[in-house]
């Protein structure tokens, strides 16, 4: 059982959508009372990221993480289209990871 979660948020350049989606996730985690740390990355770095529990990307990628860290596409948090569904999926996934 983990008491906090380490997230990575990644987009093409690590600028615009990363900044916004990081804030959105902070809000969600606050609401769900989940302790978290969030690290920005670029999408190209996804395969080699270590030490994170979950990766949320906002841009297109077919890359997988070499350590098997789950990768979720979080663009709905930026566009608002499908944001509720994504939020639920993200929270469920995080709770699942934390229970291990």
């Amino acid at each position: 059982m983990k008491n906090s979660i380490k997230l990575v948020v990644a987009c093409g350049g690590g600028i615009f959508t990363t900044t916004v989606v990081t804030e959105k996730i902070k809000e969600i985690m606050k609401k769900e009372k989940i302790n978290c740390s969030i690290t920005p990355h670029k999408i190209t770095e996804i395969p080699n990221i270590v030490g994170a529990d979950i990766i949320v990307v906002t841009g297109k990628t077919k890359q997988e993480n070499k350590q098997g860290i789950p990768v979720m596409v979080g663009l709905p948090l930026f566009t608002g289209v499908g944001a509720d569904v994504f939020t639920e999926q993200l929270v469920n996934k995080i709770r699942e990871i934390m229970e291990v």
């Binding site: 350049g13 615009f16 900044t19 916004v20 990081t22 969030i38 030490g51 297109k60 289209v81």
Partner: protein, 186 residues
């Protein structure tokens, strides 16, 4: 694997970024804005491709001294690799980069006919956009609040529909002031 081991596995750069990010709460000190002006808010532009509209907007930023030539080269490269079309209710594209950006700015154009951009999430269908917002951002940790404002704007279907058919720059600036308030530095 224990928590401690995981942290030691991280590179110094990663730990550094993490520390920086912890400080990036959206309550940035004061209002940090993005520069723009009348010459960078364009309406009814006729462009045949995404390259053409990106170049038109970049030329305005170059004239103002906000970017160097390298910005144009990099932003076009970036769009091919990481496209910026958004599947919002009113579809838009938001090309942006920091390479070659000397002063943070935003510019935009409405188009007389839609121009196709690939979707940011890699979805198969292209985004046919009639509005393009182009940004140069020097330091996102300082510009968090203004970027959040733009995100809200893109989700504001009612306002975006008005902006799509704005007849001139003056009308468009009125809508932008409404959406961005003090964050519009003009």
């Amino acid at each position: 694997m224990s928590e401690n081991k995981k942290v030691t596995d991280m590179t110094n750069q990663e730990i550094c970024e993490m520390a920086v990010n912890e400080e990036c709460e959206c309550s940035d000190a004061g209002v940090v804005s993005l520069a723009t002006d009348q010459t960078m808010i364009l309406t009814n532009v006729n462009a045949d491709s995404q390259v053409e509209i990106i170049k038109i907007l970049c030329t305005k930023a170059l004239e103002k001294g906000y970017i160097t030539e390298i910005f144009i080269e990099k932003i076009l490269e970036r769009e091919k690799e990481f496209p910026t079309g958004l599947p919002t209710a009113v579809p838009v594209a938001i090309p942006h980069i920091h390479d070659g950006c000397l002063k943070s700015f935003f510019s935009m154009a409405t188009l007389t006919k839609p121009v196709a951009f690939e979707s940011m999430d890699g979805a198969e269908d292209d985004i046919n956009t009639e509005m393009v917002f182009l940004f140069g951002i020097t330091d996102p940790s300082q510009q968090c609040s203004v970027l959040m404002k733009f995100c809200e704007l893109f989700q504001n279907e009612e306002l975006m529909k008005k902006m799509r058919v704005a007849e001139n720059t003056e009308e468009q600036i009125g809508y932008l002031k409404n959406a961005l308030g003090d964050y519009l530095l003009i």
